[in-house]
Amino acid sequence: MHELLWLVPTLPLLGSVILMLGAGRLSTRAEAAAGALSVGFAAVIAFTIAGGFLLNPPAGAAYEQTLWRWFDVGGLSVTIGLRLDPLSLVMMLVITGVGFLIHLFATEFMEGEEGYGRFFAYLNLFVAAMLLLVLGDNFLTLYTGWEGVGLCSYLLIGFWWRDPANGLAARKAFIVTRIGDTALLIGLLLIASRLGTLNIAGAMHNAAQSWPAGSPLATLAAFLLLGGAVGKSAQLPLQTWLPDAMAGPTPVSALIHAATMVTAGVYLIARTHALFLLAPAAQYTVGGIGAATLLLAGFSALAQNDIKRILAYSTMSQIGYMFLALGVGAWGAAMFHLLTHAFFKALLFLSAGAVTMRLHHEQDIYKMGGLARRLPVAFWSFLIGSAALAALPLVTAGFYSKEAILSGAWADGSSGRVLWAAGVFGAFITGLYIFRAVFIAFFGEAHTEVSGRYGWRVILPLSVLSVLSVLGGLIELPPALGHVTLLSNLLAPVLPASKEAASVAPLLVASLAGLLGIGLAAVLYWRPARPPAETPLWRFWHAAAGFDWLYDRLLVRPVLWAAREGADDVIDSVYDAIAWTARTLHEHVRRTQNGRVRFYTAGLAIGSISLIAIAMIR
């Protein structure tokens, strides 16, 4: 089965190409089929390959497939190849599996929208790019997928292009992530020039050989890669694009936040963990960024009224947890949380989409209310997702993965304790903000009328994701609760084992923090009434601590000012002079172009006579 690996990214790409070429010629049914089935078949192949991989692991726990040689220049040989090891296996399953469910949901969600086929063309391309990112065996293939993901996010966030605000949001996402991408590219060039290879496994091996721990080059390279990861994964200080990315259709948000894009940064750091182990400073920074982001995003989520923005900030916060885990060396825990987060965040976004579908795209939770009885499917899905997000103990997947992270932080010495405290406080905030949304939107009085029914293409993804959000955590249980280690066993060949807290106390504290948040939310919002008053504090967090404002003052305005001021300078006048000369000459010469055929003939005759005369005289 391994030989079919190349089909996994190719099928979505093929679907995208078909949809692009068939734009305007395919029926809606055909477009839906091409869009969803291409990812569906990729998922089937991915799961079959995974089955083979698990039953019969290849030598070295990795299967490599070299497709062709890209270029070979100056001793640097780059091939386009795929590498399937446990890490990329997990990512591949998440992307194709959750991606397919989101596609299926989208076929119903987007019904009747203008540009149905275009939407699926972008969506398929998105999945293809992300698969290339995780399956590529060298940094250049990874970077290609990385940029493809950036492009598709731009296209999809600006999908409803008739509203200029959406276009601006798309541009913002593209430019902000571009800053990170540039750092990543510089980092890759540094690796290529210093380590002599772009093959990921080879580069990691060479790095461990030639760079001592803590060496400046290793630190620099790690920081540059971190810059790329921070941009894609919307962590401090490049997090500002994510809330605006909500301008896209809800399935896009689900795809960006659950299966693709934002997890790319986590994957990158996990993939290059050998480098980060050589650069402790960079690794501490990863943890610090994660902790800071998860708190900042948690507070910001508390001050939002838009259900999708709440989920957007919750994504930032959960990715913050993953960064925290990476920072303390709990690599497996980060991947575990990535996995469960993909389930419950996709579930949350899809059920939020299912709600807004029936409410004429109303996204303000204060205008919903009382939906629990009227939209039971969406309610139960959202509730399960919220419980998993808030890490409701024992019964949700989110609980186990978050516990793994916090236990890893607890075990990581004194600095880890600080991060642990931040994580526990974050768990409290998480429970508070997500159940605030649940209570306000689904309980109390109804404010908006509900119309329509759900088809199976909505219900099936929600059900599957609900089951996964509940049971998905059972593949990895802490020592105190049965000690199942399926995932860490699988990941053992690629990721070093993470430390775990031996005692049960921190586990209990963290569980209580989440429950406390849920309880507080119940007390405060069980009887929701009015939208919150706009106190300065509320406004501060509503604007996500004012980073947009800060960047606007610090970067955007000075650049625009400089551009305005520099529009007419000395250098410009040189080009103006060139233009002026060309135009003046043109004014004179154009008179010979009078369009009269006999004039031209006379010109030809005079020219021929002169030429022959010259030839005769010589």
Binding site: R590, R591, T592, Q593, N594, G595, R596, V597, R598, T601, A602, A605
Partner: protein
């Protein structure tokens, strides 16, 4: 067959060519301009045949055949254009249409 001096044959070609050029330049009617162009092409053909005869080679005549092909294509397209122009402008005055003025 008697031998013809090369200068006389080429002289004839030169004369015909110059007359054709005069025709193209002096006439304003596109139909006449096209006829004069035919004369010029024919003059080129004469030059080829004369040169071929000088070297007793078939190449001159072959070049003449190619010129002939070219003339035939040119006339068919040119006449079609003349018809089209007459339909549109009701005139064949070459000076009347200068839409290509720069």
């Amino acid at each position: 067959m008697t031998a013809i001096p090369l200068d006389q044959g080429l002289g004839l070609a030169a004369a015909l060519f110059a007359l054709g050029l005069a025709g193209v330049l002096v006439r304003r009617n596109l139909l006449f301009m096209l006829m004069s162009l035919e004369v010029m092409l024919n003059a080129a053909g004469v030059a080829f045949v004369v040169a071929g005869a000088r070297w007793a080679a078939a190449d001159g005549q072959i070049m003449f055949i190619l010129v002939l092909t070219f003339a035939a294509s040119e006339v068919s397209v040119g006449l079609a254009l003349i018809l089209l122009m007459h339909r549109r402008n009701s005139t064949l005055d070459a000076d009347a249409s200068y839409h290509l003025r720069g």
